[in-house]
């Protein structure tokens, strides 16, 4: 089972000091956090993607590409990649590039984005969120699995004879998760393709999470990808720890009370009872997160939100240390001890996906386009190409 952290990259004033980092400082903090997570031995670092203040991570593959070069073992991922407002052609190119650069030490998670005004900035409409997610992802998959793609659809200009480069590493695309909180259509999508499904449970009661995850599991089995308990499930989580529980409560409370999402609403007592937010000692985190499998089954990835609500960098790094040294080793061992043999321990690695594709006879050796008739000549000279476009 994998344990990691995810960041939404919010720029938030520290309510205890009144200090607000600027965008540069926040981006650098994210890089420091990711490197620290790698050194501490966590399994995953995932960055959000946002195109509106107060969030800084607009360009995930630039960030993750850099991190691929300066980290050793951590899997680089997204939380989430906007499948609605990004051009699927650019996603195919950028994430294949990241896959090659990171030597397969990456995956990504599709999400729709819930901020209405962002959609029109990219020429889209939030009311078409689900149809966009479905059409764009279907195209993205084809761009990764087929060398030459002819395509037309509703939301983007048609493609004729298009080849997305670089081709995926070893001819096998990155593993994909789909993240959704409320939309069962997205769980259905993940199940249809046999992809992973991550429910970011941090603002929601676990009962709701369990319903969505179990729906995904049933549909995964329905589509013939394996038994329901073999589906690839991830959960989002949120914790704040100190060795002494009361110190954690005292220290975190001003951040909770002023947090952008739930601040000035429910009390921290209510919220820690109703949602997976756990404030207390490492042992309390182990007790709580070590029991979620009872509701959602054995799952493959647990992500924690650690760097938000204005928490200072130093505190975040301390939280990562507590997570990596006191919590994760215990949770990992417990998970492995109770996992049935037929249930995957984690999401498939690149090497496992290559082996599976080869066993299934699906993988073809990487190919470069044989005859490039597009560049080095003018379009007017290239009658074949012009005909292809006209068709």
């Amino acid at each position: 089972m994998q344990f990691g952290i995810f960041s939404v990259g919010d720029v938030t004033t520290d309510p205890t000091t009144g200090r607000t980092p600027d965008d540069t400082e926040r981006v650098r903090a994210m890089l420091t956090i990711a490197r620290h997570a790698d050194e501490a031995g966590l399994d995953v670092f995932a960055t959000g993607e946002h195109h509106n203040p107060p969030f800084v991570p607009s360009s995930p593959t630039t960030m993750l590409g850099y991190l691929a070069g300066v980290t050793k073992q951590i899997t680089l991922s997204t939380a989430t990649t906007l499948i609605t407002t990004n051009d699927p052609v650019r996603l195919a190119e950028e994430y294949a590039m990241l896959q090659v650069i990171s030597d397969g030490r990456m995956d990504l998670m599709m999400g729709r984005g819930n901020t209405g005004p962002v959609y029109p900035w990219f020429g889209q409409d939030i009311r078409q969120g689900i149809p966009l997610a479905i059409e764009n992802y279907a195209l993205l998959r084809r761009l990764w699995t087929e060398d030459v793609v002819d395509w037309s659809g509703k939301f983007r200009t048609p493609l004729q004879g298009f080849t997305s480069t670089p081709r995926p590493l070893d001819g096998v695309p990155p593993f994909v998760w789909h993240g959704s909180i409320r939309s069962p259509e997205i769980a259905e999508q993940a199940a249809y393709y046999g992809d992973g499904f991550l429910h970011n449970a941090i603002f929601w009661p676990m009962e709701h999470t369990a319903q969505m995850v179990n729906f995904y599991r049933q549909r995964f089995e329905h589509y013939g990808h394996g038994a329901a308990d073999q589906a690839i499930v991830g959960l989002g989580g949120q914790v704040f720890m100190r060795k002494e529980s009361q110190k954690a409560w005292d220290e975190f409370r001003p951040y909770f009370d002023n947090a952008p999402v739930y601040g000035h609403g429910p009390t921290m007592e209510d919220f820690t009872r109703e949602t997976p937010l756990t404030v207390g000692s490492p042992q309390q985190v182990i007790d709580r997160y070590g029991a979620f499998w009872e509701q959602v089954g054995h799952y493959q990835r647990q992500l924690f939100l650690m760097d938000h609500a204005g928490l200072p960098l130093k505190t975040v790094l301390e939280q990562i240390d507590l997570l990596a040294t006191e919590v994760v080793p215990v949770l990992r061992q417990e998970a492995e001890a109770r996992r049935p043999a037929h249930v995957p321990a984690g999401p498939p690695s690149h090497a496992e996906r290559v082996a599976a594709a080869r066993a299934a006879g699906e993988v073809h050796t990487q190919r470069v386009a044989e005859g490039d008739h597009w560049t080095g000549r003018t379009a007017e000279d290239d009658v074949d190409a012009a005909d292809a476009v006209a068709r």
């Binding site: 479905i134 259509e185 999508q189 209510d270 109703e274």
Partner: protein
């Protein structure tokens, strides 16, 4: 997915009435009107051979949770139960006091956290209370459009009770309050009786298969 109903059972099924009362004082004339409307509806259903259970939701008791849900997006505790019962009802009676020329803010906040389809096609009886009859059109200019937006099946008679209406003669010589309550109860009972009893819906029954989503 669809669930077939056991043969012979529908007429015997018990109907569920959910009453929403947004009165904030105790005792509350809004609650009093809500109770009278519920009793009239139960009587009229009984006259049609139908038994009904009544669940009353006092919004005052849920006020903090309604605000929390407005901020967090999810229902906690008793509010979660209330929303589930409301969506599964066979008929709804919604009654609010008039505050500053419209429904109470608490009432609107509750409506705001309902699922957008929670009341679609639902028989609904509307009531309001106020100091004088000069507020009585609140039913028509505020409440009815709100429930129209939600695609509720609002019965023709809404009941407004002013302070005077609680006097011995029902406040109005021509259409005293008890008569208006009876008529409204009859209309709601007719709407409930005509409708198939609500079935507990599977949470994801309405999710289309992925082939449909893909348009294949």
């Amino acid at each position: 997915m669809s669930t077939s109903f056991p043969i012979g059972a529908p007429m015997a099924a018990e109907r569920s009435l959910v009453v929403v009362s947004a009165g904030v004082s105790q005792p509350s004339s809004t609650r009093l009107l809500a109770d009278r409307l519920a009793a009239a509806t139960v009587d009229e259903l009984a006259a049609r051979g139908l038994r009904a259970t009544v669940t009353t939701i006092e919004l005052r008791d849920l006020a903090h949770e309604i605000v929390n849900m407005t901020l967090t997006g999810f229902a906690s505790g008793a509010l979660s139960d209330a929303l589930t019962k409301l969506a599964a009802a066979d008929g709804v009676i919604a009654v609010t006091p008039v505050f500053t020329a419209s429904y109470a803010g608490l009432f609107k906040s509750f409506v705001d956290v309902l699922d957008k389809d929670a009341l679609a096609g639902m028989p609904v009886l509307l009531g309001a209370t106020g100091g004088t009859g000069r507020h009585s059109l609140v039913l028509e200019y505020a409440l009815r459009p709100l429930f129209g937006y939600l695609h509720a099946d609002v019965v023709g008679t809404g009941v407004f009770a002013a302070t005077d209406d609680w006097s011995d003669g029902g406040g109005d010589d021509v259409k005293p309050l008890p008569e208006r309550i009876r008529r409204a109860g009859r209309e709601l009972a007719e709407g409930v009786a005509e409708r198939e009893p609500a079935k507990p819906a599977g949470l994801y029954d309405a999710v289309p298969s992925f082939e449909d989503l893909l348009g294949h």
